[in-house]
């Protein structure tokens, strides 16, 4: 090369791919339940364990979870973290408390935000109850 040039160390090539996702048969029941203010789990066809949110299979047995079970809106905190790091896909104000909650009647915990009490009071084993957003905002597909 005749002239000294700065080396090219980076080029930006935007990538855009659109996808249409399918929640699946059982997850769809759960999502429709949310729209009605219900927490719908699904029981394993073989072992009867109740999954919420159901993802289509009981991974223990590798069979569908086709029996829908409406669950209580109360549960127990299994473990928790206080999140202080921002993320593009999360619209919650920092810091916030995310907890694994075992709903009464469920056999697996689901994640929920604990926003109604100070962080220092949240502990493992604490009983909690679901607090719903205003009904007008119940649209899980577009959150």
């Amino acid at each position: 090369m005749s002239e000294e040039q700065e080396p090219v160390t980076r080029i930006i090539t935007p990538v855009k791919v659109d996808y249409e996702y399918t929640p699946g048969v059982t997850s769809e029941r759960f999502l429709l339940g949310l729209k009605q203010g219900k927490l719908l789990g699904a029981a394993c066809d073989e072992c009867g364990r109740v999954y919420i949110p159901p993802r289509g299979a009981c991974p223990r047995c590798a069979v569908p979870t086709s029996k829908i079970r409406e669950l209580a809106h109360k549960g127990t905190i299994i473990t928790l973290t206080i999140v202080r790091v921002p993320s593009d896909n999360i619209d919650v104000e920092l810091p916030y408390c995310a907890a694994s909650i075992l709903l009464d009647g469920a056999d697996i915990s689901m994640t929920g935000l604990i926003q109604e009490c100070p962080f220092e009071e949240v502990r493992i084993g604490m009983r909690v109850e679901a607090v719903w957003k205003p009904e007008a905002e119940w649209d899980p597909a577009h959150r």
């Binding site: 996702y21 223990r60 999140v83 202080r84 993320s87 994640t111 493992i124 597909a141």
Partner: protein, 385 residues
């Protein structure tokens, strides 16, 4: 009966936040060439290439091994691409080893890499999915609750994690390839670093690194003929369990317990803590050292923290862990598992330099991935089993 196989060459790149001086082909080639030189081999001596890396979205290239064909001398050869989440570097080495152990190939090149600076890893891990509200982000958000679970059940002192981080960051100073080099690191500095995902502090987490690691694995005939030190592969194992299911113990996963127990059996090890000289294990957040000490049967359940606390896992302890500085000091995700396997091999080959454990004869390499659900491990020794 499977053929004997051994690691005869190892190459690592310098790990760094942004390796702007090399492209992806340049990065993998840097590690591969060093491994070939270490083995005293040339490209033409290699029968097959096995490559591993974590999600393709980290670099924005789909199945990038295809475009790396030339860079890794893969044209005209068999090339396999492994992806088993965070354990992938380990799994990739195991697939490469099995090609030799099966007697299919004599000399196999295996490479793992990640070049996170070429895309946005946080984006790749946090795609906004419809019909699922994200509440925790990235690996830290997922693992922090598990760590809290461990603290609760084991009653480990709250500064255990800080002690692990201090040890690994000090060890990194003895490793020329380590990404994070913090000469003035101290207990207080870690303790006072910001809490990210409670109870994980900033200096208790791994960095995000660019880097690659490569190994040449050869059969007994070529290993002996090379006249160079070898790390003989005594045993390998992989185990998987599902991410979420009713009754799962995410803190102390059964897949890890089973994987290591079977591994020791295959390697003829009865008392792992006494018989294994040192270990390189996958610790992306400091607290995973005590957790994995238990999962690997080095300590009784709920007592792994004592090993850290008593200095057993220090470089001069009775069971040194992560002499290289570990994942806490360099985390080129797809490569991180292979680095553990390679560092274990370096120890028994006596080539670990400043972080060498004197007279190491048997070493463990360990990797895990997904939601603590994918495990891959190997035991290497300075002599064939």
């Amino acid at each position: 009966m499977a053929e004997h196989a051994a690691v005869v060459g190892i190459g690592q790149t310098k790990y760094d936040a942004k390796r702007l001086d090399v492209s992806q082909p340049g990065l993998v080639r840097e590690a591969a060439i060093r491994a070939l030189e270490d083995a005293g081999l040339e490209w033409k001596d290699i029968d097959a290439v096995v490559i591993g890396k974590a999600p393709d979205m980290f670099e924005g290239v789909m199945m990038p091994e295809l475009f790396l064909a030339e860079a890794l001398g893969g044209v005209g050869k068999p090339m396999l691409r492994v992806h088993t989440a965070g354990s992938v570097g380990g799994s990739t080495a195991i697939v490469a080893a099995s090609l030799v152990q099966a007697g299919i190939h004599e000399r196999v090149l295996t490479v793992s890499y990640e070049k996170q600076s070429e895309s946005n890893a946080m984006w790749a891990l946090s795609i906004k999915m419809p019909f699922a509200v994200a509440m925790v982000a990235g690996a830290g958000g997922f693992f922090a609750p598990l760590i809290r679970g461990y603290m609760q059940r084991s009653g480990a002192p709250e500064d255990t994690g800080i002690r692990v981080a201090l040890k690994d960051r000090q060890n990194a100073l003895k490793n020329q390839y380590a990404h994070l080099q913090m000469p003035d690191i101290s207990f207080d500095m870690i303790a006072n670093s910001p809490m990210l995902w409670d109870p994980i502090r900033y200096l208790e987490t791994c960095p995000s690194s660019d880097g690659a690691c490569a190994m040449v694995i050869a059969d007994a005939k070529h290993t002996k003929a090379s006249g160079r030190p070898a790390a003989w592969i005594h045993a390998t194992n992989m185990k998987t369990e599902p991410t979420l299911f009713a009754g799962r113990d995410q803190v102390m996963p059964q897949a890890g317990l089973d994987c290591s127990a079977e591994l020791y059996k295959k390697a003829g090890i009865q008392n792992p803590r006494a018989e294994i000289d040192c270990a390189e294990i996958y610790v992306p957040f400091s607290w995973f050292e005590p957790m994995w000490m238990e999962n690997l049967h080095f300590a009784p359940i709920n007592e792994g923290w004592k090993m850290t606390y008593e200095g057993a896992t220090a470089i001069d302890g009775d069971m040194p862990v992560n002499m290289s500085g570990g994942v806490l000091s360099s985390n080129a995700i797809g490569a991180s598992g292979m680095i553990r396997f390679a560092e274990a091999a370096m120890q028994v080959r006596g080539q670990a330099g400043e972080h060498q454990i004197e007279g190491a004869k048997k070493a463990l390499g360990h990797a895990y991935g997904g939601g603590s659900q994918y495990f891959s491990m190997w035991i290497v020794g300075d002599q064939p089993l």
